[in-house]
Symmetry: C2
Subunit: 195 residues, 2 copies
């Protein structure tokens, strides 16, 4: 059912996952699929949950801060492979049941680090929204990729934007590399109040 969709996705990308294309792959009319998924968006949501279920979390360190970084990094890395994912997430609110375990662990680690349950919820929301924003920025960056879309090339007009001009070096340094790991590190530490 969804196996074929996953294969199709891995083989030909998200654009190939259409009702018609999937029907063809299964040797079946596109209409037959509507008995099983109801909707194309439904299909995509189910696909996301499948990808989430595939995530392999490495063993968690005892230190809550280190454990949090492992958990978030694994989520980020796993989702970063699929840029189309953020597009679906922007259309459908969803919490993939498959990641509930990880979310539980994150909350537990935040509490273990000394936060109250309310503080943990807020901290989780902040870091999660940061994570998903990082994914979105990354998706945009990879999509732009070879295409010379980077407006604001070189030093931004020092007259009008003096601080940005000074910051240009830092920007281009951040440009290529993926800064998620560093950023989530400072975020976790500051949120927990342990610099």
């Amino acid at each position: 059912v969804l196996d074929a969709a996953t294969e199709l996705l891995d083989a030909a990308g998200i654009d190939a996952v259409t009702m018609r294309g999937l029907g063809e792959r299964l040797g079946v009319s596109p209409m037959a699929l509507y008995r099983y998924v109801g909707d194309r968006d439904d299909l995509l949501v189910a696909l996301i949950d499948r990808l989430a279920a595939r995530l392999q979390f490495p063993p968690r360190p005892d230190d809550p801060v280190a454990a949090l970084i492992v958990l978030f990094s694994t989520l980020y890395d796993g989702l970063a492979e699929h840029p189309w994912l953020v597009e679906v997430l922007s259309r459908r609110r969803m919490i993939a049941p498959s990641v509930l375990g990880a979310i539980e662990e994150i909350h537990a680690a935040l509490c273990a680090a000394g936060l109250s349950i309310e503080e943990a919820v807020q901290a989780y929301r902040v870091i999660w929204q940061f994570t998903i924003g990082a994914l979105l920025v990354r998706a945009g960056a990879s999509a732009a990729g070879a295409s010379q879309q980077s407006q604001v090339r070189g030093a931004p007009d020092a007259e009008r934007y003096p601080t940005l001009a000074r910051a240009a070096a830092g920007w281009t340094a951040a440009h290529g590399r993926d800064m998620y790991r560093d950023d989530v590190d400072v975020l976790v530490r500051t949120v927990i109040g342990r610099p």
Copy 2:
């Protein structure tokens, strides 16, 4: 040129902004538009820059922390009205030239608060990615809206997810309200190191 697209967008939503629909509104063939935009995605990017240029920033307080909160909140509020925006951003890396002024001010305020230029860049990236993630989550939430998409309804299985069960109250509290202002507040303060 883009005026018509903006009107169409405001009147009938992003789905109505198609080459064909826009051509019809202008009393012109869809093909004529390709002399002016090159691409549908191009059109959407230009539209985003237009929305960004429309943003009205209130006067900034002298206190850098307060100024940062005003700047980010205004960006957030302005972009939150257009959920389709994150979809475009996920496909195209872009920095709308119209918001460069705001970005400059943000960096300046971060430096004024005592951060080095490198720290300011990192702080900006973290808060910006958090902002865009908040927009994405919000877009998903509003899209789900009336449709009963909220899986994980009620208290999550206390057996398997004890911490989440304890957190349930905090979650449902956060559910309806928009927490951006509160969240960005703590984020700015912690990043600046002034609790």
